[in-house]
Amino acid sequence: MSGGNSKNKSRSKRHEGWEEAGGEFYQELYPGGEQELFDNLQRADATKLATLLPSKQARNTTTAKRARSQNERRQSTYARTTQSRDIHLSMLPDLSENLSNEERTWEEIMQIKAMPVPMHQKRDLKARLQNATKLRLQGFEQLQWRQRKVWHRFRIRFTEVVGKFELWRSALREIEGKFGVGVVSYFLFLRWLFFLNIAISLFVIVFLILPEVLLVEDKLSCNETYPNSTVCCSEAYFNRNVTGNNVILDLIQGTGWMERTILFYGVYSDQIYSYFVHRLWDTEMFYNMPMAFILVPISWALFSLVAIVKTGAKGFKERLVESEGQFYMYCNLVFGGWDFCIHNEKSAKIKHKALYNEIKGCLEEERFNEEKQLRSKESHFFMHLRRLLVNLIVLIILVASGVLIYFAFNYSMDLLDEQISSNDQTVRNGTAERLTLELYREGYSFGRFQNIVLEFLPSICIVVLNIIVPEIFEHLIKYENYNPAHVVFISLLRTVLLRLSAFAVLLSQIYIQVTNPNRVICSVFSEESRLECWETYFGQQLYKLILTDFAVQFVMTFFINFPRSFIARHTNSSCLKFIGTQEFYLPRHVLDIVYLQTIIWMGAFFCPFLPIIGMLYSFLTFYMKKFACLVNSTPSPIVYKASKSKSLFMSVLLLGFVISIAPVAYSIAEIMPSVNCGPFRGYSTVWEYVVITFETFPNVFREFIFLLGTSTFAVPAFAVLLFFLYYYWAVATANRHMVTVLKNQLVLEGHDKQFLLNRLSAFIRQHQKRCERRNRASFADDDSSIQNSSR
């Protein structure tokens, strides 16, 4: 009983607290106090009553609320001036209620900037807060507060310094001013990739390249009794004379002397380096090169994955919030449509036009959807037929380009093989006179040129297809009547498919050659063969691909597209204008850089320098794309949304990541590494090395890892994960339910409010009428009294 009483009491106390606070709240809102409020009500006509509601009031309400919500954790002293939800605050002794301590005051000052009031008011407020009497913090609290303050100041200083060194700041601003936020998000993505490549390069430099360069390898000599041992094979491989090509040719092909540099897989040692660090320890230290060679790719792959997922998740969250629907579409356009950063008059004009088109498009799409139901069966059928036809054509083009690459690859390989065998013959004819060979090569300059073309043929083929085919797709998609959002997505998908099919053909060709049972694995006695060290060979292919890609991008940007845009700018003929005008079509440019990244991921295991090349490449790409964007292109009449495109970039990149890592993982797990080169000589797979190293670990650790693999661990872990999954799912459903409930409640409250407002306005009207009547009556009285007195 008594318990119930006390509860009641506390509740009543709470009520008082509420009301008190509420009273203060309204006083704060309407500075004139209740009187003014009442006057307002009386003056207001019934229809405008709604505008007097607190939720419709502009400034003070929200600032108070904001401050409160931010401070709620710390039981803000804003309670002094504004409404407080913290009940026990009103029950505390008044000492702390009226006096705040330094830390809180400081926090409040930090939050003034969030108030939407002019500067002089903010400064007044700050001064008032600073001059107010406050409690001094004592002892430890004081120390803590000081620390916080110092940390805060340091952070500001730090971000300022970092901001000064922000890469490409002015370039981004320029692009932003001309093209708006959507295109800038592309450049930010490019910058992000650049940083990712720097990180990957750091991994590679610190753990692979530096040890390889600094640590000294033990020389092992070939034992004549086992001519097929790994030592002999690699000796034969490294001692073989490097074909004496032109330096520049070697540089761009990655052959000749380049093949024997730390650029490629081949030269990395299979030894566990031992070294002494004298002053520190006199014990011997080890660096396990093969282990590093396998662990570094795993770590950068994981790093990239985490980076992609983390960045992508942010965009994904935003996508989730933004439920698809007309309302959000229009809100986006109306309230977020204009990019406030545009500072170029011409672009502003185009932006106006783009927005107009977008809104028109939205309205039309709606009409389109309405018509869809009404559309006759016949036209429906024709549309589907057309789409089917276009898809068929797309498929044919994809297959055709795959076949083309296949033939180009085979053709060039066949010819190159022939050449090598003919070289072998000449060598065999005169083993003593190697000079003849040299002469033969010198005289064969045309042949050499041919060689290069043949070497590059597959890469050139892929790159050229990548440029031409998307243009065809772009034209084809116009006949399919998709809505604009789908157009971007579908054309992106098709182009991705194209690039992948090209890749797949190249990979499968190399795979067939590598796994060919007739391949010369260890050529101690025979002459060189191209696939002697197939990892290096694969690395060379990707190296060539990346160089070709760069060259083509460069030529396209500066020697083809730039003159085109130049013509377009300085001509009046509409035909030339049509040829010359280019838009900055985002999906294609996105693919360009995702493609680059895919090559880097795929090749970085076989060619450890590839991330470093990629880093330089992406640095230069930024300038190239900037040029393409600012000089060559005119702003696109398509509105690119920043948030949407960000998540699109990340999903495409994730796709590229999976596709590039899968073949590498396969090769590590399944394909036999070369016997004569690289860190994994003599093992049947790369992974075998890891397993063997693992066997040497202490028993306890091994047992532990094995335990992770057994069902005793897996089943409970799986169960626990399922449990968590279920838990979060349940929480999510509950939250969703809560949202609907609250929404319904809000609607009900709205009804109530409407009802009360109506009542109030009716009352006011009645009141006004009564007043008038009374006035009239009193006038009448006055009149009569005056008349009386005058009589």
Binding site: A50, T51, L53, S55, K56, A58, T61, T62, T63, R66, K113, P116, P118, H120, K122, R123, K126, I156, T159, E160, K164, L172, R173, G177, G180, S185, R319, E322, F327, Y328, Y330, C331, N332, L333, V334, F335, G336, W338, D339, F340, C341, I342, H343, N344, A348, K349, H352, K353, L355, Y356, I359, K360, S643, K743, L746, V747, G750, H751, K753, Q754
Partner: protein, 192 residues
Amino acid sequence: MGSSTTKHLLTEDLIEDYTSLTYLNKGEIYYLMKKFHSIDPEKVNSNFSHRFSQADIVKKFDVLKTNPFQDRIFKVFSSQNDNCFSFEDLLDLCSVMSADCPSDVKAAWAFRIFDIDEDNQISAQDISKILDRLTWDPDNRHHCLDHHSKAKIAKIILEEIKLDFSGGIGLSEFTFILSRIPEFSSSFYFRL
């Protein structure tokens, strides 16, 4: 020379105040001061809180020149309601437009900019006026949404948000909508 005079104008205390009361950092404030000072050095030197007219400010700040809400921005951010900017007003503007400013603070100011008829709510009329400003094209007068479609868009937006059945969108409702529109905070900003 120029920077030293502006440094002289901005005392340490003032800078301290400004950095703690805005989302800008020191460098940005100095930069703004330099730009502001260069409009007319003498007037600023003689009176720190000199108010420059809209035209003067726009000449220096390209970002405002092409903005379809230019007049609204000047109306909202001018502390004396005279469409003129003192340095502090300019700071207010740039603080809100900076990337560090949280989205709900931006929304509070944006609300006042979008509330074109200044009745403390964004009504159907406001929305159609915003649409007009967005699609306005001096070269092509026909490039304007017709009355019917504007009304339709306004109706769609208002219907969805009118949870409490009152005429237009109030400030808190507006903040609520904008928190769910990721596009907003990325478009409502400019780099200095």
